[in-house]
Amino acid sequence: MTETKTPSAGPADPSRRSAIATLAGAAAATSLPLWARYTHAQTAAPIRIGFQMHATGIGSAYGRWYDRTTQAAARLINEAGGINGRPVEIITEDDGTDPKRGAEVVEKFATQHNCDVGYGTLFSHVVMGSAPRAGELQLPYFVVSEGHHVASGKLNRWTVQPGITDVKSQVMAMAPFVAETLGKKVTMIFPDYAFGHDHRDFFTEAMAANGGEVIAKLAIPPTETSFTKYFPKIPRETEVIYHVMVGPAVLTFVKEMGEFFGPSRPAIFGFIDSLEAVDLASPGLEFLEGTYFWEGMARYAQPDQTEFDRHYRAAIGIDQNGASTRDPKDVSTYAHMFGCWETLYVIKAGMEAAGYAGPADRQKLIEAVEAMTEWPLSNEHPQGAKLFNGKTHQVFGPQYISKLEGGRLNVVQTTPIEAGFYPDEVDYTTRSF
């Protein structure tokens, strides 16, 4: 029964939301004397974390792994005593990767499920659609989207991104490596919409700051499925190609680029987002051998693997190649999903710092998180040490640059946290709740 859960007897799988058991629990609770019910709810009622999952829609592949990571972290938190002595219950709602439904889900968390916080949103347009509602309902909203929208000041005081770095920071941290190691003259190939434009703008600026130059920008229409006509536009003097193609045509893009250049090609740098959850041994990807990628977290266990990475993989059930231990071909979204894990631990730390007892303390929770500044590399933060900017509600951390060698990604550089710093664009702490 949910009402009588104790941390030690917490659910093995926190997703096991047993509405039927809850009903039974409620029935049992009503048979208790009033004082007993009251004290009970104060001490052992679960902390309810509303998980806004992309279970269906275009985000569902990510959603499945965000879910697995979330369940694993929540299970460990419960096994270790929960939060403030109370077990954690994950209330999962599907938003269909749909901004309008996202706002509805946030509302359900606040009004129907009586959740303490909302959490876990990935796709940026869903974050943009949901965050205003979270603000209106005064529901702490912890997003895991790596979008720059939080730190840009577009959202509100209730929305925080403490578990994953934003794309601006990621792109900026890459520029020194590209300029110093790969070459100064860069041609960018990106899809012609907001996502690609962000890369274009952030990286162009960052390269200039590092003594390099973006000499050509090839914007590819999003519906394009053949790219041969674009490659001749790459200037001859190009030393580095920076690509961030996404969508079903990305494998075709790589194959055609390989055919175009043959053995003599410039250095190539990309974001693993293009190939997240894709087996790098897929046909057509041979051409990427020897090219470089940004990774949020190293998919393949490295020779200097930390005990924390080992712990994290074991808890979720991921092997040394970033795939499921139960199916080595089932490749995870390893570069991103650590954000769920780390965010849950930030929620835990925030609730503990705030002495969080219930929804009345939601504002205290946000203030407690805003007051946090750093988290060390640990089981709670296996991706790396973090610095948190309470004003911008955005976390900063290391980035990984990996080289594809023999079908696996080997980390060649870990960028320092500071490489991703940029001037604050907002101070949420001055905004009202």
Partner: protein, 456 residues
């Protein structure tokens, strides 16, 4: 502002954002496969035209098996089926909010809409036994007979309206799998048709309720069935040959089944996104495209029957039999059923490979109580078969095969029906020429859909 990357199309999007493994599909020699598929269909046309008509009709003669007795499906089973549906609706309201873990969402969109429809077309009329209205309707009507007579003039048209409503939810509702909303929709749909069945008697279910009519239509092309006192096994379509042409409403219903399946594939393609000016890499979500999807569905429901009617009419003109347009349309419409079923298989194969695993997990532990009813300790849902070249190729070929086989059977069936209708080989062949062209183009369309990059 950064929009997060989508590995759109490379990875499956279960339930209604149907699974796609488009990235690897784009690398397959799909032009070659499409050419082969279309060639197979053209060859079928040549064969049925050249071969003697005896053969064309002969292949639809079933093999007699054991004697059959006309069994009335037991009332208890029908009541049990109703109770099960009611239980599922309760679980929709109280169970997991995640549609991939909720028994109702999986039962409706995976078990019923994918598996049961397939069983109905591949095995036989299972729906007659488990239809959830029949039991309660029979119980009530025993005490209080139906008060009204269903006007014969209505034909099967109410069922077409009902099916269009179902299709609108499938294709345009922002959250068709959301357990709570689905519970409400299922309950309302059931209650609506229950009330009308009480008013008009069980006939309403056979002529007014879309799902029962759809299931009955698919059962017509199942290889197994009882006829003239025996169980018989034959080429899909033998039952169509053995029955009279359906009435108008039902014939149009059959064309509508293909229209819905076709739009369901078309609305995911980059091409469709391009027509509407959406970026497929940044799909705004179903909420924002409800109107477009409804318009697309409505257009499909008008355009395909019109095209089919035109093909029938031109064929009749060639054969000098235009006066028989009505009977001919009604006769040939069931020949589209194998194509609709082929589309169904092709379209939902990737989805069911994923959703089947979720169904297994829920069957193992339907009440989310930690049970292991199937003795499985942990169901690990994997989608790795969308990640490897070989498995994606196999899936694609299975899908393409379903489409090609569906068309080949449809062509043979249509020709056999023409022979039956005209009793004259030359007229039959002439009447079929435009329909054959229609089916070749439809094969091309179906295979193109499979090979196209998709955005949802």
């Amino acid at each position: 502002m950064r929009r997060l990357v989508l590995l759109l199309g490379l990875l499956p999007a279960p339930v209604h954002a149907h699974a796609t493994e488009g990235g690897l599909v784009l690398l397959l020699p799909t032009d070659f496969y499409i050419g082969g598929g279309v060639a197979a269909v053209v060859l079928t046309i040549l064969l049925v035209t050249v071969l003697p008509d005896r053969l064309a009709t002969g292949i639809f003669r079933p093999l007699p098996l054991i004697r059959s007795r006309r069994l009335r499906p037991p009332l208890a089973l029908a009541l049990l089926s109703f109770a099960l549906l009611a239980g599922l609706v309760v679980l929709g309201l109280l169970g997991a909010h995640n549609p991939m873990e909720n028994p109702l969402s999986l039962a409706v969109w995976s078990l019923f809409w994918i598996v049961l429809v397939l069983v109905q077309g591949m095995a036989g009329d299972l729906w007659r036994w488990i239809d959830p209205w029949r039991g309660p309707v029979a119980l009530v009507l025993r005490r209080r007979p139906a008060r009204f007579r269903l006007p014969a003039a209505l034909g099967h048209w109410p069922a077409l309206a009902s099916f269009a409503g179902f299709a609108a939810v499938l294709l345009a509702h922002p959250a068709p799998a959301d357990p709570e909303r689905l519970a409400a929709m299922v309950a309302c749909y059931w209650a609506f048709h229950f009330a009308l069945a009480l008013a008009f008697g069980p006939k309403w279910l056979r002529r007014g309720e879309g799902i029962t009519v759809l299931m009955g239509a698919y059962a017509r092309i199942a290889p197994l069935g009882a006829a003239r006192g025996r169980w018989r096994l034959g080429l899909p379509g033998w039952k169509v040959m053995a029955r009279r042409a359906p009435p108008w409403g039902l014939a149009v219903f059959m064309v509508a089944m293909l229209a819905v399946g076709s739009y369901d594939g078309l609305n995911e393609t980059f091409w469709w996104f391009g027509q509407l000016g959406w970026n497929p890499l940044e799909f705004p979500g179903r909420s924002l495209v409800v109107r477009e999807n409804l318009a697309g569905l409505a257009a499909a429901l008008v355009v395909l029957p019109a095209l089919f009617a035109a093909a029938v009419a031109v064929g009749l003109m060639l054969a000098g039999e235009i006066a028989r347009f009505g009977p001919a349309f009604r006769t040939f419409a069931p020949a589209l059923l194998p194509i609709a079923l082929g589309y169904h298989v092709a379209h939902y194969l990737p989805s069911i490979l994923v959703e089947g695993q979720y169904m297994l997990a829920v069957a193992n532990d339907p009440l989310d109580s930690g049970a292991h009813l199937l003795g499985i300790d942990h169901v690990h849902v994997t989608t790795s078969f969308f990640n490897t070249h070989e498995t994606v190729r196999l899936i694609f070929l299975a899908q393409a095969g379903a489409i090609v086989i569906g068309h080949a059977i449809a062509i043979a069936l249509s020709h056999a029906l023409a022979v039956r209708l005209f009793g004259n080989p030359r007229k039959a062949a002439l009447s079929q020429a435009p329909l054959a062209a229609f089916m070749v183009l439809y094969t091309l369309f179906g295979l193109w859909l499979l090979a196209s990059p998709r955005g949802v």
